[in-house]
Amino acid sequence: MSARKQKLINQPENILSDMLSGFVAAYHDIVQLTDNRLIVRRNPKAEGKVGLVIGNGSGHEPAMIGLIGEGLFDVNIAGEIFTAPGPERIVEGIKAADRGAGVLVCVSHHAGDLMNAEMALELCEMEGIDNVEMVVLYDDISSAPKGSESERRGTAGLFFVWKMLGAFAEQSDDLNACKAIAEKIRDNTRTLAMALTSCTNPITGELMFELPDDEMEIGTGVHGEVGFGRQKVASADETIDLMLPRIIEDLPFQSGDDVLVMLNNSGSMTLMELFILYNRVAQILADNSINVYKSWIGPYATTQEMAGFALSLCRVDDELKALWDAPANGAYLKL
C-alpha cells in the first residue's frame, strides 16, 4: 500500500478552520471569510445578476473554495472533510449570494449534498425567500448506466459547469436561463476516473480504500468510491485506450464535434504523467475527427493525495465556447 501515512496538519478538529483561514489570508484580494464561515467573493457581482452558490464537503481542494471569484461562483459553503454542510448554512450562503435576481443552488450529486440542499430550499420557502432554484449535476459514467444519467455521481467534470455557468451568471439577470445553461453543460459532459493509489483520511489518518501497489482501479469517485474495473497497472496509452472510448460512446461524441477536454489530477499524479496521458487522448480524438477546442490539465477536484486522474469531455457550441473563453478570476482558476 503506497499511501502516505502522515499529513502536515495541527489538531484534526481544526483542519477546516485552519485551512479556510490560511486560504483567505493568501487570497484576500479575491475572497473573504464571513463570520459564519462562508467563502464569498471580495468583489460581489453586479446588483441584479443571478447569484451562484454551492456547498460541499471539504478535502477536494482547490474545489470549491478556489473557484469563488469573478466569472465563477459567488459563495461556497465548505462542510467538514467529505461531509456536506447542513441546511441552515446553505440558507446563509443563499442569502449571501443574493444580488436581487435570485440564486441558483448547484448540487454535485451525492446523497448528503442533495438532501441538505433540498432541506435548505424548504427552509427558504418557510422564510418566504423565493426566487431560489436548485440544479443537480452529475457526469460520472461509471456510477450508473446510460439511460440512468440522473443517478450518476457528480465528479470532476462539473468543472465545465462551474466555469461556463459562472461566466453566464456574471452577465445574467435570468435565474431560469442560468439553470438551463447549467443543464445544457451537464448534459454534454461525460467523465471517467481512475486511481493508482489510495489516500488517507486527514482526520483519522486511515486509508480511504485498499488498492495493491501493482493494481489500478477504473471508475472511482471523488471520495475514492469503488469503480468497476480493477486490474494490473497498465501503460499510459493502454489506460487511455481503456477509458476514452467508453466516454466517447456514452454521450456519444461524434465526428466533427468540438469538445473541451480536462485531465483532472486527483492528487499526486505528476504533470509529466498527465502530459504523457494527454498525448494519447489527443491522438484518439484526432483519429475520431473530434476537435479539441481547449484543454485543461491539472488539479481541480482532488481526493486528498490519491494518485489518479479523471478524464472529462464536454461538447461545446459557439455559445459555450464564448463562455469558456470569458474571463475568470478565482484563486485557482484564471482565464
Partner: protein, 196 residues
C-alpha cells in the same frame, strides 16, 4: 412508569441517546473505517451532544420546541446524509406535537410514524433499500403494535436491532460502501433502546 412522555422525559431521552452514542463513537468510527470516511461516529456523537446541550439551555420548553431544536441541531451539526435524515426524523416528529404538553402512547405512535414517513420521503427510499429505514421502520411498527410506552420502547429497540442485523447481512452482499451507515443506524437505535 409514567403513562405520558413529558418535556422532562423527552430531554432525558435525548440526553441518554447522546451519552450512549458518545460511548460508542470510537466503535462507530472504527466500523466506518472498514471502508467509509471514518467520521461517522464522530459526526453523530458531536451532533447529539450539542443537541442535548441545546435543549437543556431552553427555559421551560414545550415538547415541540424540544423536538424542533433537536432536529435543527442534528441536521446542522452532523451534516452529510445522516444529518439530513436524523434531522428530518425529529422535525417531522415535532410537527405532530403542536400544543401538546405531554405525549400519550398514541401521540408517540403518530410521532414515530410521521418521523419515519419523513425519512422515507427525504431519502426517496423505502424498506429493503438497505438504509437506516430497514432498522427504523420495523422499530416503529413494533412500537405501534404494543399497548404501553414501556413495552413500545422495548419492542422497538429489539426490532431495530434485528433490522440492523438484517441490513448488515444484506449489505455484506452488496459491498462495504453502505455498510458503515447501516451498522451505525443499528447502534443509533440501540441508543434509543437504553431509554425504556
Amino acid at each position: 412508569m409514567s403513562a405520558k412522555v413529558t418535556a422532562q422525559h423527552l430531554i432525558a431521552i435525548v440526553d441518554t441517546i447522546a451519552v450512549h452514542i458518545h460511548n460508542n463513537a470510537d466503535m462507530l468510527n472504527a466500523l466506518d473505517l472498514a471502508l467509509g470516511d471514518g467520521d461517522h461516529g464522530t459526526g453523530i456523537s458531536t451532533a447529539f451532544s450539542s443537541a442535548a446541550a441545546d435543549i437543556n439551555q431552553l427555559s421551560e420548553p414545550d415538547v415541540m420546541t424540544i423536538l424542533k431544536t433537536t432536529a435543527s441541531t442534528l441536521m446542522n451539526r452532523m451534516g452529510g446524509a445522516s444529518g439530513a435524515l436524523y434531522g428530518t426524523f425529529f422535525l417531522k416528529a415535532a410537527m405532530t406535537t403542536r400544543d401538546r404538553a405531554a405525549l400519550s402512547k398514541s401521540d408517540c405512535d403518530e410521532l414515530l410514524q410521521a418521523g419515519l414517513q419523513g425519512v422515507k420521503q427525504r431519502g426517496k427510499s423505502d424498506v429493503g433499500d438497505k438504509t437506516m429505514i430497514d432498522a427504523l421502520s420495523p422499530a416503529v411498527d413494533a412500537f405501534v403494535a404494543t399497548e404501553t410506552l414501556a413495552a413500545g420502547w422495548e419492542q422497538a429497540a429489539l426490532a431495530a436491532m434485528h433490522g440492523a442485523e438484517d441490513t448488515k447481512d444484506m449489505v455484506a452482499k452488496h459491498g462495504r460502501a453502505k455498510f458503515t451507515g447501516e451498522r451505525s443506524v443499528g447502534h443509533m437505535d440501540a441508543g434509543a433502546r437504553s431509554i425504556a
